[in-house]
């Protein structure tokens, strides 16, 4: 089996193993000195997330959390962190590629203990994957290694097609020859090599269905685009892949989402990073990404700008915003990175009209309209939001 393993992978493993040893040696040294062992972790909370206005990135703040084994409230988390470290370490040693779900199952044991006096208790090391996922993030910040660098896989979600060739695991793949299908963006996008590319921009579509429609009518071929979908909230691999396209190939990136607060947030995750993964923004965010639509001004017009939808179309396509949407909109309004003039106008129109719209509405108006009028015209006239 060994000969099939990529040299790149092997290097990554060696490095990760070493970092683990160094990190956990510090804990062991505390114990050997007779001190209660503890680790310092950056706090992954909204309060400790800082928006760097200059670099336009969401970054982890300076606040640290002391996780001590002998602290009743932290003891279990401490154990979980070490348990997870052990499982990852073993997987690295054994040349495995566990997914986060694998890690969840591998670490899920029942601790049985009997109190003095005989009462028997059972407790699981963790119950839900949410818990083990959180510990993985803790290990990432503790070791400074990203999960990709620990060769941990996650489900592939993002897809790409376009006039481009890449090398992955020794194979050259032509992204223009995927038939009706598409290339699934692998969980370790850093191991991809860009061979050649012939495109003018990147279009990321939130909705998988719209991605497929645009693909089938040959949108990317006609408009010289790399077409990508995140299929909802983008995973890390898709974000990293988009970032590399932007950074290494200098392609402009346009993002197309539903016209609602969730769509806006997806855009902002691509552009500046997410709150839960702010420690990775530097690697994952694409600060130059542009929000192409669907914008509130596309629907309702604004000032001199004429709407893309007629009165009648609006009546048919618009959906009434739910309370949750409104609440989310108010939250976004307070995020620093949404406090630009254009975004505040978007949010205001939304709160004013209490209406949202799905991208599909534009394909209902006509797939051609979306592909050959709406998108090209907006790109040409610079009708996007930064």
């Amino acid at each position: 089996m060994a000969e099939y393993i990529d040299q790149v992978d092997r290097e990554a493993r060696k490095r990760a193993l070493k970092v683990f040893q160094e990190t956990f040696k510090m804990l062991y040294d505390q114990i050997a000195r007779g001190e209660p062992p503890y680790m310092m972790l950056p706090k992954r909370t909204l309060a400790n997330t800082i928006y760097d206005e200059k670099r336009k990135l969401l970054l982890l703040g300076p606040e640290k959390l002391k996780r001590s084994f002998l602290d009743l409230n932290e003891s279990k988390k401490f154990m979980q962190t070490l348990l997870m470290a052990k499982i990852i370490y073993e997987a690295l040693e054994r040349d495995e590629y566990p997914t986060i779900r694998d890690l969840y199952y591998r670490g899920k044991h029942t601790i049985i203990y009997r109190e003095p006096g005989g009462r028997r208790h059972e407790e699981n090391t963790w119950d839900e994957q949410r818990e083990s996922d959180a510990v993985i993030r803790d290990i990432e910040v503790l070791t400074g290694l990203l999960r990709e660098e620990m060769l941990i896989l996650s489900k592939e979600k993002g897809k790409v097609v376009g006039n481009m060739r890449i090398r992955s695991g020794g194979d050259v793949i032509d992204l223009s020859k995927m038939g009706h299908g598409a290339y699934a963006i692998e969980p370790t996008p850093d191991l991809i090599e860009f061979v050649d590319v012939d495109a003018e921009y990147v279009l990321v579509v939130e909705k998988d269905a719209v991605f497929q429609q645009l693909h089938r009518i040959g949108f990317w071929r006609r408009h010289k685009a790399i077409l990508i979908t995140s299929a909802g909230q983008p995973d890390r691999a898709t974000r990293r892949f988009v970032r590399r396209l932007s950074e290494e190939l200098k392609l402009p990136v346009y993002i197309l989402t539903d016209a609602d607060p969730y769509g806006w947030y997806i855009y902002s995750v691509f552009k500046i990073g997410s709150i839960t993964l702010s420690y990775e923004s530097e690697r994952l965010a694409t600060p130059s990404a542009r929000f192409i639509g669907v914008s509130m001004t596309d629907i309702f017009g604004y000032g001199k700008k004429k709407p893309y939808l007629s009165e009648k179309e609006r009546r048919n396509y618009i959906i009434k915003a739910k309370d949750a949407d409104i609440k989310r909109a108010y939250e976004l309004m307070n995020y620093k990175w949404f406090q630009t003039k254009k975004w505040q106008i978007e949010i205001k129109i939304f709160l004013d009209k209490k209406s949202k719209l799905e991208i599909e509405a534009l394909t209902s108006k006509g797939l051609k309209f979306l592909a050959d009028k709406y998108l090209p015209e907006k790109i040409e006239t610079g009708d996007w939001i930064e």
Partner: protein, 532 residues
């Protein structure tokens, strides 16, 4: 001119038995259910007075049986192993209201010379049955038997039967049996509670109770220590009034005021008497018999005023003592913690008294919104009129800051209060609640604080220990994973799981700051295993 209509009032006198026949409810004989309860009480209290007050470990047998002829008639029988009664006193002790051997200055449950007679009188007027008494005084080779009724008009005993039997086994004690109209279903819980509370306060007694449902409850003797035997004392000068002075003077042989003072009062020697008479500006050689009412009023007032008399003697009192209270609470309530405080003797209006407070916490006591209050006065459990009692006033969560003692209601807590005195200030002859005497209230509060402080110390310690235990369990159960992880990641450096475990254990011990043996006790029996 018409003759003025003359309305003539008619006068007659009443004997004590007539009076209490008319007003039997003031003595607790108002209704059949209350009367049944009161009957049990009066007989049981007499039985205890005949035993523990005289240094005898009590064996008490109580039975309530339904009379075959009428379902509402109950025969109440109480037998004790006490001092018994001399046969010549028996007819009066049971057949004449206000006849007692306890009109003395020493603590006893009985006080009015009324209790047994009320039960007998009440039984007689409804059921027509006489009281039956077997008794054998200590050292007597005979057992006496009487059947007695009360001549209520004349307050005289009517002896229906008198018999004597040989006493070969040397039994001593008394067995009293009366038939009263009662309401067992309604009195049941009170009577059981009463007997239980009696047992709490008399852990040195064997008490057997058979009820009409044929339930038998046995309270076994837990300790053989009796409370101190109370000794009769002379009156204290602070408790004196004109009438008492007259009585004392009538009895005395003293020729002078000085002699009288020394002879008639407790705690008064020649020196004190002289100092007092000087203070009162009275001639010490005066013959006390020559004092007229005006002089007597003056003397009584000065006696009450004079601040330098010795405090009233507590010799006449018989508190339980902490040992008995704790044993009683522990045996009956099965709490996890118990403590008791017996305060030093104090006095009000010349009457010595001692306050005692016991606290039982946790264990089998259920959490309640208020403390469970077990009131006692001269060792009698008080069940009725709780909220009117001075003891309730003191323990009431609205008046006492329980939180400061780490007690947060609902809490599993019982408070026992005991007031022992030569004169307990009852609110009525039914002996159900104690009046608000400031001196007593203060002492109750002091005693409660003292006991509650010990409870707080206990709760604090327990909390600390529980926390330590919780910590240890937490750390212990996670230690295997932590050790295994470090041993896996650092195996190249020779780190071994077993060593890490040991080191972690030591760190834990040091951090928790508990002694070696305690720590081992805590972790002993704590097993941790992991199921993959």
């Amino acid at each position: 001119m018409p003759r003025r209509q003359q309305q003539l009032e008619s006068f007659r006198s009443m004997t004590p038995s007539q009076f209490f026949y008319e007003y039997r409810e003031v003595a607790g004989f108002g209704s059949p259910s209350r009367a049944l309860y009161q009957t049990v009480r009066e007989l049981v209290e007499n039985a205890l007075d005949a035993t523990d007050v005289h240094g005898i470990l009590p064996d008490i047998y109580i039975a309530i049986e339904r009379e075959p002829e009428n379902p509402n008639y109950y025969r109440v029988t109480v037998e004790d192993n006490g001092i018994g009664i001399q046969p010549q006193h028996v007819p009066y002790a049971f057949g004449q209201v206000l006849y007692s051997s306890k009109y003395r200055l020493r603590q006893a449950r009985g006080r009015f010379g009324l209790g047994a007679k009320m039960a007998i009188l009440y039984g007689q007027i409804r059921t027509g049955k006489p009281v039956e008494v077997y008794t054998s005084p200590q050292g007597s080779n005979k057992i006496y038997f009487f059947r007695i009724k009360i001549d209520i008009q004349r307050n005289r005993p009517i002896v229906l039967t008198r018999a004597e039997f040989p006493n070969p086994s040397g039994w001593h004690g008394t067995r009293v049996s009366v038939v009263v109209e009662g309401d067992w279903p309604r009195a049941r819980s009170r009577i059981h509670t009463y007997i239980q509370r009696t047992a709490i306060a008399a852990p040195y007694a064997n008490i057997v109770f058979r009820d009409p449902d044929n339930r038998i409850v046995i309270y076994r003797r837990r300790i053989t220590k009796l409370p101190p035997i109370p000794r009769e004392v002379k009156p204290h000068p602070h408790g004196v009034d004109i009438e008492l002075l007259k009585q004392l003077i009538a009895k005395t042989n003293a020729k002078t005021l000085l002699e009288f003072m020394v002879e008639a009062f407790q705690g008064v020697g020649k020196k004190t008497a002289e100092a007092f008479l000087e203070y009162a500006k009275l001639d010490k050689n005066l013959d006390p018999r020559t004092l007229d009412d005006k002089k007597l009023e003056y003397l009584a007032r000065k006696l009450r005023e004079y601040p330098k008399f010795r405090a009233p003697s507590a010799d006449a009192l018989s508190p339980f003592g902490p040992e008995i209270i704790e044993a009683g609470l522990r045996a009956i309530l099965e709490p996890e913690f118990v403590t008791a405080v017996t305060r030093r003797p104090k006095a009000y209006e010349g009457h010595p008294f001692i306050v005692e407070v016991g606290i039982a916490y946790g264990g089998k006591i259920p959490p309640m919104n208020e403390p469970m209050l077990l009131r006692y006065a001269n060792k009698i459990p008080l069940l009725y009129d709780e909220k009117a009692d001075v003891a309730w006033k003191v323990v009431d969560p609205r008046n006492f800051d329980w939180k400061a003692y780490l007690v947060n209601f609902p809490a599993p807590i019982a408070v026992l209060t005991h007031i022992a005195s030569t004169k307990v200030p009852y609110k009525g002859v039914g002996k159900e609640s104690v009046a608000d005497v400031p001196e007593i209230e203060n002492e109750l509060r002091n005693a409660l604080r003292e006991a509650a402080r010990r409870l707080r110390d206990y709760l604090l310690k327990k909390k600390r220990e529980e926390e330590a235990k919780k910590r240890i369990i937490t750390f212990m159960k996670y230690t295997p994973e932590v050790a295994s992880s470090l041993a896996t990641i650092l195996k190249d450096m020779g780190v071994r799981e077993e060593d890490v475990r040991k080191m972690l254990l030591n760190i834990m011990k040091k951090k928790l700051g508990i002694e070696d043996d305690k720590f081992h006790k805590l972790i002993q029996g704590l097993e941790v295993s992991i199921e993959e």
